[in-house]
């Protein structure tokens, strides 16, 4: 009987091995109610009592083995099936994506946000001021002489202008964000540490000028503020903007509201000053970035801050220019055309 059982195992395992679909049929054939193994087990009673447990145990062992073989084969077949299925499901991943298109901030805003981030990191507050201003805030309080050419109707947009004389209460569209310095200093005493991004206006329109543009103003007033502080601050800003290798240089210049005054250039971040034909810096190696200087004592005094006690620095940069340089935009007017094909690029 033992031999018979071993033979059944041999038959079953051979059959399972060759079967690639209906394993249930095999299970029924051997283990079913009328299966071969069951048949043998039915004969168990005919055996002598002492052999029954031995053969019984062996029969169970065989049953388990067959079940295991079936299970193993089943798993094997399932594996084959899923692979086949997956192979059939292959798709063309180069077909267009389905997406919800998100919008974008305007490139000028992106530059503005980068700068705000850098300055907030250095402990600056962001402040805003009006765009329609009295000449007082735009010129007089900034030590701008009455005969300053910028006051001309050729340069600044006016809403109200006295015809006979140049007045503080002429109303205009601010031509720089420096007016925010004055409004802030009138209401706040040192220490002052602010930046003022905003919209500005000048009578100008060509490939590098638009009548509406944006500036980013900065002002620090405290005891012991020096020209070196200005340099260090601006260096930190340009490293934040253009990377740790960024370099700046200061060139002496003139602004009525600062003394000493400087124009600040950044080392060309495209060629690093190493390409005579660089399209970004036109071979200069430097890019003119902003105007800056130590706040003129008259400006401080005019806002009620004692210039013998406090000193300060201020700077202002054009965001359009920065955006054009950083993104390689050749015509400033693109920034105000709002063409989707343009806006999507940034």
């Amino acid at each position: 009987m033992k031999n018979e059982l071993s033979q059944i195992l041999g038959e079953a395992s051979a059959e399972i091995k060759n079967q690639d679909a209906d394993l249930e049929q095999i299970r029924i054939k051997y283990l079913g109610k009328k299966g071969k193994l069951t048949d043998i087990l039915k004969k168990l009673g005919t055996l002598p009592a002492e052999e029954r447990p031995v053969i019984g145990a062996f029969a169970n062992e065989i049953k388990t083995k067959i079940e295991e073989l079936i299970a193993k084969k089943q798993k094997e077949l399932a594996g084959l099936n899923i692979e086949k299925k997956l192979a059939e499901e292959k798709i063309d991943i180069t077909l267009p994506a389905k997406q919800k298109e998100t919008g974008k901030r305007h490139p000028i805003s992106q530059i503005m946000l980068s700068l705000e981030e850098i300055f907030i990191g250095m402990g600056f507050n962001i402040v805003k001021g009006p765009e329609i201003e009295y000449a007082y805030y735009n010129f007089d309080a900034l030590n701008s002489p009455k005969n300053h050419p910028a006051r001309d109707i050729q340069d600044t947009f006016y809403i109200r202008k006295d015809e006979k004389e140049i007045r503080e209460d002429d109303i205009l569209l601010r031509c720089h964000t420096s007016s925010v310095q004055i409004r802030f200093m009138e209401k706040n005493k040192p220490p002052i540490k602010i930046v003022a991004p905003g919209r500005t206006f000048r009578v100008d329109l060509d490939s590098t000028h638009t009548p509406v543009f944006h500036q980013f103003e900065g002002l620090v007033v405290d005891k012991n503020i020096t020209l070196v502080d200005l340099k260090d601050t601006l260096e930190a800003v340009f490293r934040g903007l253009f990377g740790e290798d960024a370099e700046i240089r200061l060139r002496p210049h003139y602004f009525p509201f600062t003394e000493p005054s400087a124009e600040v250039d950044a080392k060309c971040f495209v060629c690093g000053g190493n390409n005579e034909n660089c399209p970004t810096c036109r071979g200069e190696g430097w890019l003119e970035m902003l105007g800056a200087g130590m706040v003129h004592p008259k400006v401080l005094a005019g806002c009620g801050i004692d210039p013998t006690v406090y000193t300060g620095f201020a700077f202002g940069m054009g965001l359009e220019r920065l955006a054009m340089v950083k993104f390689g935009i050749d015509d400033i007017r693109n920034l105000f055309e709002n063409n989707m094909r343009f806006l999507r690029q940034f």
């Binding site: 329609i132 007082y136 809403i159 070196v228 002496p252 000493p260």
Partner: protein
């Protein structure tokens, strides 16, 4: 200001600056760093190569060509060269420019050896044009022929010499951007001084000397001057020259003027231009005979204000009408010049001029500017006066002019000078506070270095006691720098001196002393304020909804107000107008952003973009007082206008017709969510809104606060007429929201609601109602009647058709009920449903039965 490097070098001790790109660039960089910014530089006549001075030994007819000549030319080498020319003005003995074999002439044209009609030609004889010159540079030259050098121009010339050195073409020009505080730098001497300090060289200045004045004659015999308005003419200086010979200027003078960008005219005019370039002092030379002589004992010049309506015809032959603010130079009967701007038509120098008056005056800058602007007449002279000149210059300048007259041998200087002035500001002494200067700069420059720099800049170090001052250290500001120094206040002068010292010391050489400290100012918390954070949230909501931020001009065309159907009485028509707009299209400050957004949509359609989603966060502007009401007088802290922060957004989409009113409604809801405003309503009753005329009356809504008191904004489909006005041929949707109002009512309180533990029970109801019933009305009843087990309800289908009947529609609602404390039973939900249906029936809304 353009300067000739060769000329500049004459003022600098040591070797002249070499005319090559490297040295010139090096010079320009140094000047830029010390405060005289170089805009541009150019090596002049750089393209000319291998052109020499030659002498024509013989000129013979070409054997095979009637119009050609075969020349033998000495070019300073052992053998003469043979050159064929077509020019007819060549004769043996003539000294001419010769482009040799392998040379380059003006325009980059290469000249090589060749044969002309079988005769070898080893180069080319050059005309003025072929050297890049013109007849102003060589007045005697033959326009159509070869440049045959003549007269004094032949002095110092050697045969075989390179043409560039022979004709003084070997020069470079540097263009400086001079800041308005440095009027003194609009001159060779001013820039030479800056150059000397920058390069560490000694400045060589020359004091003009008149050697051969006619002592027997006196200016008093010719002229007297009366200045009637010293405010506008602080100083008037004049000399008279007789026996004038008008001729072309010598080569050196013509070359200097040309390199400086000024066209040579004749000796007298050239002298005045030369002196203006050298000193920055404009000079005027006028014909003495043109002055009327109503009296014996000489003629009289009167410097006076013009009469209103008085007329003068200026040198450019234009008759100009004057006003009383303008200053004229007049004789006793007529104005002969516009002070500091231009001479009168007939007073100019002509070949017949015998006696001239050299005027070297100081005119007040504002007055010159007023006159120049008003008449639209800008000259080199007026440009210089507008910068504000040092009145001490007039004497030096007029003496220099007379010196040049003698040097050029073109007239006899009459002794005596007219020099009228009232009071002249004297140079003053001031304190040099070394410590304060270092404190402002963050530097440690020694006292010695400071004095050294200031001395080179022409400041005088002096003994304070001499000036009756109590300071330790004292310097005297040069007269020509006084206007740049705010006189009096010591803190301001310290700042001024700090700038002078630091720019020469080098801004970039001042270093952080400790190497550690980043900034010296106090530590404080920075960041955005609440409104700025609120704005960022709004920006983010729009971007995540697919809208692109746009930047549009703040001023618009007034036509926009009609184009968006604004009623004549709309408060949005109370706009601010610019006095001097660039054009009508940008002439008024906008009171709504909607037209700008529509214009953006229109432009994108014109650019053939299939779709566009845009937003703009910007200001709108209103006058402080309504039209007709007087403005309040200006006081510090006051605002000149009312400015409000607005949001506008809109879209069109030809790629996805599913995007419609409900899309923009979704964006509005997302914005309200970003603002943290839950209690708001949308109403189709838009007629009260300022912009209602711009919207489709059946497809638009206003956003109201929960209590109906405030209107946050309006949105919807744009009225087809308005779309037409903007040439928008597709459906488009837009919205405008008052961000200031939204911010006032915003909240960023976020409170957690526990997640549900018990299941919800949902029911769908198909309800038949009148076609014009708003789903919100049904929603309100469902919500009210559901009581506290209400979770949500939303319409998910709207059906109209025969089965429902004319004028009716079926709205299917899904409703969800939930109790946070237990599981609901069918029975209690059924009771609620019945209550809802009963209430709906009362207003004729019934359950749909099919």
């Amino acid at each position: 200001m353009n300067i000739s490097i060769k000329w500049l070098s004459e003022y600098l001790d040591g070797e002249p600056i070499s005319i090559n790109k490297k040295d010139i660039k090096d010079y320009c960089d140094k000047m830029t760093y010390s405060g005289s910014k170089v805009e541009n530089y150019e090596i002049l006549f750089d393209e000319l190569k291998n052109i020499a001075v030659g002498k024509l030994l013989s000129v013979e007819k070409h054997p095979d060509a009637d119009k050609l000549f075969v020349c033998s030319v000495d070019i300073g080498e052992s053998e003469p060269v043979q050159i064929v020319t077509g020019a007819t003005n060549v004769k043996a003995g003539g000294i001419i420019p010769v482009a040799l074999n392998n040379s380059v002439i003006h325009g980059g044209k290469k000249i090589t050896k060749g044969k002309l009609r079988g005769v070898e030609s080893c180069g080319m004889l050059c005309s003025v044009e072929e050297l890049g010159l013109n007849l102003h540079d060589f007045p005697y030259a033959d326009e159509d022929g070869i440049l045959v050098l003549q007269g004094d121009d032949l002095q110092n010339i050697k045969i075989g010499q390179d043409i560039k050195s022979a004709l003084l073409l070997d020069d470079a020009v540097v263009e400086f951007e001079i800041t308005p505080n440095r009027a003194d730098c609009f001159s060779m001497i001013g820039l030479a001084r800056e150059s000397a300090v920058t390069l560490g060289r000694k400045l060589k200045l020359h004091t003009p000397e008149i050697k051969n004045e006619d002592k027997a004659d006196d200016i008093k015999n010719y002229l007297s001057v009366e200045v009637k308005n010293y405010d506008l003419c602080p100083r008037y200086t004049a000399k008279v020259i007789k026996d004038v010979k008008i001729e072309p200027s010598p080569l050196w003078l013509r070359a200097k003027l040309r390199a400086s960008g000024i066209r040579p005219i004749n000796n007298i005019v050239d002298i005045t231009n030369y002196v203006m370039l050298e000193y920055g002092q404009p000079m005027h030379a006028f014909d003495y005979d043109y002055l009327d002589a109503p009296r014996s004992g000489g003629k009289k010049i009167i410097v006076r204000n013009a009469d209103n309506g008085e007329k003068i015809t200026t040198l450019d032959a234009v008759e100009r009408e004057l006003d009383e603010k303008m200053l004229v130079i007049a004789d006793e009967s007529k104005p002969v010049a516009l002070a500091g701007i231009m001479g009168g038509e007939n007073s100019g120098i002509s070949d017949a001029t015998k006696t001239i008056v050299f005027e070297s005056a100081n005119f007040e800058k504002m007055s010159v500017r007023h006159t120049s602007r008003k008449l639209g007449l800008r000259t080199d002279s007026s440009a210089n006066f507008e910068k504000g000149l040092d009145p001490y210059l007039t004497i030096q300048a007029v003496n220099r002019a007379c010196e040049l007259v003698e040097e050029l041998n073109c007239g006899i200087v009459i002794s005596g000078i007219i020099d009228k002035y009232n009071t002249l500001v004297e140079s003053s002494a001031t304190n040099l506070d070394v410590e304060k200067i270092n404190a402002l700069l963050g530097s440690s420059i020694s006292e010695e270095e400071m004095f050294d720099i200031l001395k080179k800049l022409d400041f005088k170090v002096c003994d304070p006691r001499e000036y009756g001052l109590i300071y330790d250290k004292c310097v005297v500001i040069p007269s020509y720098r006084l206007s740049d120094f705010d006189n009096g206040d010591l803190t301001e002068i310290t700042a001024n001196l700090a700038e002078e010292i630091s720019r020469i010391y080098g801004y970039n050489n001042i270093k952080n002393q400790t190497g550690e400290k980043i900034t010296g100012y106090s530590v404080r918390r920075g960041g955005r304020d609440k409104f700025q954070k609120f704005l960022l949230d709004i920006h983010n909501a729009l971007i995540s909804n697919g809208y692109y931020e746009t930047y549009t001009f703040s001023f618009v065309t007034p036509k926009y107000f009609d184009m968006i159907n604004l009623p004549e009485t709309s408060p949005l028509r109370d706009y601010i107008t610019l006095i001097n707009p660039l054009g009508e299209d940008t002439s008024v400050m906008r009171t709504t952003l909607l037209p700008s957004t529509l214009a953006t949509i229109s432009k994108n359609l014109a650019n053939r973009n299939d779709y566009g989603y845009f937003y703009d966060i910007a200001k709108i502007y209103f006058p402080q007082t309504p039209a007709g009401v007087a403005d309040t007088p200006f006081q510090k802290g006051a605002y000149a206008a009312i400015e409000k922060n607005m949001l506008s957004f809109g879209f069109y989409d030809t790629t996805d017709k599913l995007n419609d009113f409900y899309t923009i409604k979704g964006t509005v809801e997302n914005i309200m969510q970003a603002a943290g405003i839950k209690n708001y309503k949308l109403s189709s009753e838009i007629s009260g809104h300022n912009l209602s005329g711009a919207y489709h009356p059946g497809r638009s809504a206003v956003i109201l606060s929960g209590d109906n008191q405030k209107v946050y904004g309006i949105f919807g489909e744009i009225h087809p007429n308005v779309s037409d006005n903007f040439e928008i041929a597709v459906k488009c949707y837009a919205a405008e929201i008052d961000l200031d109002l939204l911010y006032e009512n915003s909240s960023n309180n976020k409170i957690y609601t526990p997640l549900p533990k018990y299941p919800a029970m949902t029911r769908d109801l198909a309800l038949v109602c009148d076609d014009n019933t708003e789903s919100a009305a049904i929603y309100d009843i469902i919500k009210e009647k559901s009581g506290k087990i209400f979770e949500w309800a939303k319409p998910f289908d709207v059906y109209k058709g025969e089965k429902i009947g004319e004028g009716k529609k079926s709205v299917a609602f899904a409703i969800s009920f939930r109790d946070s404390a237990r599981t609901l039973s069918d029975d209690e939900v059924n009771i609620v449903i019945n209550k809802i249906l009963k209430s709906l029936e009362e207003i004729n809304i019934t359950l749909r039965r099919i």
